[in-house]
Each structure stands twice: as C-alpha cells, then as structure tokens.
C-alpha cells in the first residue's frame, strides 16, 4: 500500500503542475491544462461577484417596499448580476475550464490546435472582465443585461459604453476558443479515434464551438452599433431618425438565444460522461445523443424571436418562432430520455458527481418544459417579463449548468489536481445546493404566474411570503456554493493522493496519471474501442 502511494507521489512530482515553476511559467504557459486552471480561477471569482449582486437583490426583495436600495440601484444590481453571470461565468464556465483541460486529452492529443491563441483568449477574457468590473466600480449599468434601446442608447445615465466594451472584448475570447476547439477536434484526434468513437463530451463541445464562432460576432457588431448610437446619438435603433428598437432586439437575440445553448450544451456534455461512468454503462443511443447536440446548435439559431413575442414583431414572425421553439426542445428531450435509459439496468453508484448529474437531469427537465410554456404565444403574453421567465432560465442555468459544472469539477478533480475531494462533505454540499436551489426558484414560478414582474424592487404585499421563501433558499444555496470552494482548496494540499483512474471509468483521460504530465500521454494512444466500452473493459485496462 505504501509503495502504491509512493509511486503515486513520484508520478505527481512530474506532472503539468510541477514540471515548470514560478509565476511566469503560469502566466506565459501554452499548456491547455494550465490555461484551464487560469480560467477556473477567474471564472470562480466572477461567479462569487455575480453571486453577491444576487444576494443583495434577494435581500431587497424580502420586503415589498424599495427600502434596502433605491430603484435605480436595484436596476444596477440585476444588470450587473446578469452581465457578469452570463458573459463572465456561464459562457466560459465549462468550455474554458473542463473543456480546455479535457478536450485534447479525450481525443488523445498533446494540446489544442493553437496553444498560443488559447493563452491569448484568457488575457482577452480578463481584459473584458476588468473593463466590466471597472464599470461596476464607477457606478454600474442599469439597462439590464439585455441593453434594450433606446434606454441604453439615449436615456440611461450609467456606464453603458464601458460595460458594452468589456463584453465586446470578452466575446473575442469566445470566438478564439470556439475556433481552437473546432480545429482541434477535426485535426488532432489520435489514430483510431473516429468521429463515432469520440466521447459525447466532445460532440457537445463541438456543437458549442460552432455556436461560439457563428453567433458571437453578431453580438460584437450589435454592441458596436449600440456604442456608436450612444456616443454619436445617431439613432440606429431609436426613433428620431427612423430607427427601430426592435431591430436591436433581433440582432441582440440572434446571438443571445444561441448563447443559452452555449451555456447548456457543455453541461449536457458533462452529464453524458457522469451518467455513463456512474451507471458503468454506455450512454444509451450514442448516435442519437451526438446528433442531438448538433441539432440543438443548429435549431438554436432559428428561434430567437421567442424573446420578442410582445416587442412588436409581426404576428407571422411570432408564429414561426413559436413553432421552431417547440422543435428545438425535441433534441434536448432526446438527450434526457437517453440519459434515463442509460440508468436502466446500470450498476449505479451515488458518488457526488452522480448526485449533481441526476440533479441536472431533473432540474433541466423542469426548466426545459417551462420553456415550452413560454413558447406558446398565448401563455407567453401572460407570463413574459415576469418571474416565471426568471425561474425558467434559472432552472436551466443554475439547476442545469451550474450543477453540471460542479459535478464535472468533482468528477475530474482527481485528474486535475491529483487529489481526492472529501466525499462526505461533498455529498452534504450537493444536497444543500439542491434544496437551496429549489427553495429559491420554485416559488418564482408561482410568483410569475401570479403576475410579479421581473426587474422590480417593489411589489404588492401579498407576494411577500413567496419572496421570503426565495431569499431563504438563496441563502442556503450560497452556503452550498461556498462549501466546495473551501474543501476543494483544502484538498489541493491535504486531500489523499488520487490514482490515475479512481472511478474506473472509460476514456483516454483516465489512461494517464493524475495529474497528467505536460504532454498528456507518455506515448500517443491508439484507439480501438468505441466510447463507454464498459462491457468490453478488460481488467488490466482498469488502472487502480
């Protein structure tokens, strides 16, 4: 036993973490694994900043009156919460952390196609983030994360251009990442790694990358025009010269709807891996899940008008977008059914990653189905811009993506850090997150249906009990998020050393040491099995 630990320690002495030392070797690294850690550090920081804004909002909402903060400040709170969470946490969260770390490993490559571009993307992202934080510091933005005109271009007195500039810049980091991943997945697969032997994590990230590359530039140009209109007062999107505010919405949502698929597809990527590993079974209907990822990416571009049903677009447009929005739910549902079928007759174990994965499946399903409510024109007229919508997207983004992110972090933590996290407390924190989440957001469905508008700090007193439940939940949720931060950091130094394949899972990333050497593999792997080949797994391949 002691020789095994000694061997593990010896392996860990020559890993990507230790082979080069000093701050310069981190800030100038081109190793995708180190870049993944740089991103993890940033993304975690932004998550907690965005979370603080959320907590302040929920504190204000404890009482019907606008008493904790002014209405103007409240506008700034929800705007900054949205901007930071969407662009600086959710969009980079899984792709730039787990994606960066794992994609080359899962395909058997030494690095991504363009390693220096990868490093540049982190700096670009940080530059954008710093500019946005500066805007916060100088007083914030009060337009909502959606920047609707003409308020954002003519009437708002806050740092709109600063915030827009920060987001514009960080968008290029997205484009660089997407480009890098597409080139990597096409060109750098190991011998024998055909498209249909790829882990579904790769398929989902490929789909995500396509969206990165095709949608983000439209956001860039929209924000550019917004800045031009605001600075020069030239009415591209507002009435005086004949501009149309709805055109801004078309262009904004052309990006922002696919963006929500950028946020959820990587979560689905993680769940596919976790469900297979903790059922010890191949994902049911691999081909269907793979094509479903691609379908979500494609169909996701055809539905943006469902954010604009009451904005003034034509009725025919609205009808078209409604039908397509129903259609786009189908591939997501296929994935949920297939994950569920994977569980059937599987050998299921309930480690923390699996708790998060199952949580994802349930909560994403609720979030997704409420999306169908919203896709129905008649219902949408009633619940649009209410807390129903807020609950819908938080079920997907938080109940879905954040849980998948945490699940993935736990699952691959041994590979990334060479340490095991503490299983007991992690299960407790998963449970805390799940309970806190539902207590926070389920009451919001009721609130929205009863008519509570979103982005309001004041409300009728009969809604107060629901807001109190929600704020209580948010507090519990916050505790649930702080716990992993603490025990992950603790485990980095004090956690037990992890073997190469602690979960005895399939996948090339588990065929190398934990943590891996800089070049990932001692020799280039040759792939002869299909993905998730648990049935065919020979004893000697299961490294312990």
């Amino acid at each position: 036993m002691s020789t095994t630990i000694a061997k593990l320690r010896a392996a860990q002495a020559h890993s990507y973490l230790t082979e080069q030392r000093g701050i310069r070797s981190w800030l100038l690294t081109t190793d995708h694994k180190r870049i993944a850690l740089l991103y993890t550090f940033s993304v975690t920081g932004f998550f907690f900043i965005g979370g603080v804004f959320a907590l302040l909002m929920r504190l204000e909402l404890l009482t019907p009156a606008t008493d904790l903060v002014s209405a103007h400040t409240y506008n700034e709170l929800f705007s900054m919460h949205g901007i930071i969470m969407v662009w600086f946490f959710l969009i980079p969260s899984i792709p730039n952390t787990l994606g960066n770390f794992l994609i080359p490993m899962m395909i058997g490559a030494k690095d991504v196609a363009f390693p220096k571009l990868n490093l540049a993307s982190w700096y670009v992202y940080m530059a954008g983030g710093i500019i946005v934080l500066y805007s916060v510091f100088r007083g914030g933005v009060d337009t909502g994360w959606t920047f609707y005109t003409p308020f954002s271009t003519v009437y708002s007195q806050t740092y709109v251009v600063g915030a827009a500039l920060g987001i514009f810049i960080s968008g290029f980091a997205s484009i660089m990442t997407g480009l890098n991943f597409i080139a990597t997945i096409h060109r750098l697969r190991a011998p024998g790694m055909t498209w249909f032997r790829l882990p579904l994590f790769i398929w989902s990230h490929y789909a995500t990358s396509v969206i990165f590359v095709l949608a983000t530039p439209v956001l860039a140009v929209t924000l550019l025009m917004l800045a031009v209109e605001r600075i020069f007062q030239v009415g591209i999107f507002s009435a005086p010269l004949g501009g149309d505010p709805v055109l801004f919405q078309h262009m904004f949502w052309f990006y922002s709807h696919p963006a929500v698929y950028i946020m959820v597809l990587p979560g689905m990527a993680v769940v596919s891996e976790l469900v297979a590993a903790f059922s010890r079974k191949a994902v049911f209907g691999y081909t269907f899940v793979a094509f479903a990822s691609v379908s979500i990416a494609v169909l996701g571009f055809l539905v943006w008008g469902h954010h604009m049903f009451v904005a003034g677009q034509s009725v025919y447009s609205a009808m078209y977008f409604s039908v397509l929005s129903y259609l786009v739910a189908v591939p997501s549902a296929i994935k949920v059914f297939n994950w569920t079928a994977t569980l059937y007759k599987g050998s299921i174990s309930w480690e923390t990653p699996m708790l998060y994965a199952i949580g994802f499946i349930g909560l994403f399903t609720i979030g997704g189905m409420t999306g169908l409510f919203l896709a129905a024109l008649g219902i949408d007229v009633h619940v649009t811009d209410t807390y129903f919508v807020v609950a819908h997207f938080h079920y997907i983004m938080v109940g879905g993506t954040v849980m998948a992110y945490l699940g993935g972090m736990h699952y691959w933590w041994p590979k990334i850090s060479g340490r095991m996290y503490p299983e007991g407390i992690s299960k407790l924190s998963a449970l805390t997150v799940f309970l806190g989440f539902n207590l926070t957001f389920f009451p919001q469905f009721v609130l929205g249906y009863l008519g509570m508008p979103r982005r309001y700090a004041a409300y009728p007193p009969e809604f107060q009990y629901l807001h109190i439940l929600s704020t209580a939940g948010a507090t519990i949720l916050g505790v649930g998020y702080i716990m992993p931060l603490i025990y992950f950091l603790w485990s980095w130094h004090y956690g037990p050393a992890a073997p190469p394949n602690p979960w005895r899972a399939t996948g090339l990333e588990w065929q190398t040491s934990s943590p891996p050497p800089t070049e990932n593999f001692e020799t280039t792997p040759i792939v002869t099995h299909k993905a998730y080949d648990y049935a065919g797994m020979k004893e000697e391949l299961r490294l312990v």
């Binding site: 490559a109 390693p115 080139a183 550019l224 030239v234 009415g235 591209i236 262009m251």
Partner: protein, 216 residues
C-alpha cells in the same frame, strides 16, 4: 517536398502537412466569424433600405462613383499582387514574394488614401452623422441613417484594411529575413486568405452603397 524545416513544426503536430492544413482550416473558420460580423451590419442595412428606399437611393446618388470604382479596381489589383506573392513563394522565388507583398501594402495604402479623400469630401458637404450633418432633403432622417451605415461599414472595413496592411508589411520583412521557403510559407497563405476576404467585403460594400442611386 513541401514540408517545413523541422524547427517550424510545432510539438503537438505529428506531420507538417497536418500543421499546414490545420492553420488553413483555422483561418477559414476565422473568416466565417468575419462573415457574421459584417453580416449583422448588412442585415440592418437591408432592413432600413427596405423601409427608406428613397432616402437611401438619395444617399447612394451622393456617392462618388468615380472614386468608388477606382477604389474597387485598386483593391482587386492588390488581391492579384497578393495571390502572385504567394504563388511566387510556392515556386521558391522569395525575393519576388517580398516585392509583391510590399506592392500589395502600397496599393492597400492607396485604397485608404482614396477612401479618406472621400470621407473628407463628405465632411465638406456636411454629411458626417454625429459630427456635422446637414440636409434640407425631405428624407433627411433616412439620409442620415444611410450615412451612419456608410461610415460604420466602410469604417469597419478600413480598420480591417489597416490591420491587413500592417500584417502584410510585417510578413514582407519576415520574408526578406529568410523565414520562409517554398517548403514553408503557411503564414503567408493565411495572410492571403485574410486579405482576399477583406477585398470581398469591399466588393459588396461597393455594390450596396454606390450603385442604386446612379441612375438619377
């Protein structure tokens, strides 16, 4: 025969051919993002043109077809010199490549010079929205909108041209320093793709801004 010298092969690639093809695909993907970037502006332009055809036709009539056509020819010429520069590199005639790249840059600067001449003319005619715009036309609002798109789109194009010219000069000097050979000139190929794409954008800008008001 066409493989780069060993030192040019990055660690994580297994063959030079793989590296060259990956860089090419990477550049094409980047150009796809540029299509979407300009595409947003073309879409917005199309919407407003549909609504304000008369005002936009008037704006188009105020453009200088002479300068616009000359500029189009100028840019197409720079594409030719760029293509020939790369052709020369493939044929191992790197001195020619160096000369043709410099020529491309010079022609590119000529394009920008003509463009800024046009901008200055617009300024003298008080047709720069947000800076100095006057019009007695009944379609003044639509006309101003036309000019907003004109300056935004040709301006964004000019930014791309400037970056391109700087890169062409940079790579011309690298060529002169002997960094490339008939076996390895991948960065030049990527640069060529970018240059031609910027030319294509201008081809469409010329079509939408300069033609529709010509008949008046």
């Amino acid at each position: 025969m066409f493989s780069p010298p060993a030192s040019m092969l990055r660690e994580h690639y297994s063959t030079p051919e793989q590296q060259r093809e990956t860089v090419t695909v990477g550049m094409w993907i980047f150009l796809a993002t540029e299509v979407m970037l300009f595409g947003g502006l073309f879409t917005a332009f199309a919407v407003y043109r549909m609504y304000y055809t008369r005002g936009f036709d008037q704006g188009s009539a105020e453009m200088s077809i002479l300068l616009g056509s000359i500029n189009t020819a100028v840019l197409l010429t720079s594409s030719l010199t760029m293509a020939l520069a790369i052709y020369s590199a493939a044929a191992g005639r790197l001195l020619r490549t160096y000369g043709l790249l410099l020529l491309t840059a010079v022609i590119g600067i000529a394009f920008l010079a003509i463009k800024f001449t046009e901008y200055y003319q617009h300024y003298q005619q008080h047709k720069v929205p947000g800076v100095w715009f006057e019009s007695s036309s009944p379609d003044a609002g639509a006309l101003q909108l036309f000019y907003v798109f004109y300056f935004a789109m040709t301006g964004l194009h000019a930014v791309h041209m400037s970056i391109g010219i700087a890169l062409v000069v940079f790579y011309a000097f690298r060529t002169a320093a002997g960094r490339f050979s008939s076996e390895y000139y991948t960065p030049l190929e990527a640069l060529g793709l970018y240059w031609h794409f910027v030319d294509i954008v201008w081809i469409f800008l010329f079509a939408i801004f300069y033609i529709s008001g010509l008949h008046t």
